[in-house]
Symmetry: C2
Subunit: 138 residues, 2 copies
């Protein structure tokens, strides 16, 4: 039997976050001690580690909820689980592409400015004021 603090230490998920996940329905409401404190078992530890891992990979709560539901039907085909992961991968790739464009634009703006002159002539400010100074679209 683990207290919420034990569970927290073992999974790296903060105590209030565990309670939040319970509220969101990602983990079942734990049994309680006589004094109304949450008590957990090995199963909960595994479930929470699963959630933690999925969150670290950037999956959002609805996606995790769905994966948990799927994992409770071991004999069903796994196409849905695969799709969730693949969709997320696509989203991550898109985000990277968008950020790379930003990186380029910022790089260009920053490289025109060495911080050694006045605001009036500052390329950073000028570039922000005038979109025409940009190369790509964003």
């Amino acid at each position: 039997m683990l207290s919420i603090g034990d569970l927290s230490r073992r999974t790296g998920v903060k105590v209030p976050t565990i309670r939040y996940y319970e509220q969101m329905g990602l983990i079942e409401a734990a049994e309680r001690s006589e004094g109304n404190q949450r008590r957990y078992e090995r199963d909960d530890l595994e479930r929470l580690a699963f959630i933690r891992h999925a969150r670290d990979l950037g999956l959002d709560i609805p996606a995790i909820r769905e994966l948990i539901a799927l994992s409770q039907h071991p004999s069903e085909p796994c196409a849905d689980a695969d799709r969730i992961a693949a969709d997320h991968l696509a989203a991550v790739r898109e985000k990277i592409q968008r950020l790379k464009k930003l990186e380029q634009e910022l790089e260009r703006i920053v490289s025109h400015c060495d911080g050694g002159h006045s605001i009036e002539e500052c390329y950073v400010i000028r570039a922000l004021s005038d979109h025409r100074l940009c190369e790509g679209e964003h």
Copy 2:
């Protein structure tokens, strides 16, 4: 004299967002018509375009506030403006690095699964359940 809708159309910033920026102090409270509607001029158009552009580049509101304040002292040195942009560039680069790690891990997980078997054997679910199946740290 432009209405808030005119301003919105010309800058691509939605009407409620313009009001929000006013509330946040990014643009000055506009003059009002007799019937209490906001009326804007060319200056406001430029200011809002500046904000829009900075937001598109991913700068947050405190940073934009600071840039606006700086831009109002044209003869000061521009080191601060340069620093804001450079810091943001660094943050963007970090985010890209983090996402690339995620991309790799997800790629690996997804590539092990073709959606054609059962949840029980599904690599997506197994990988999430067991962090030891991962290659990098995340």
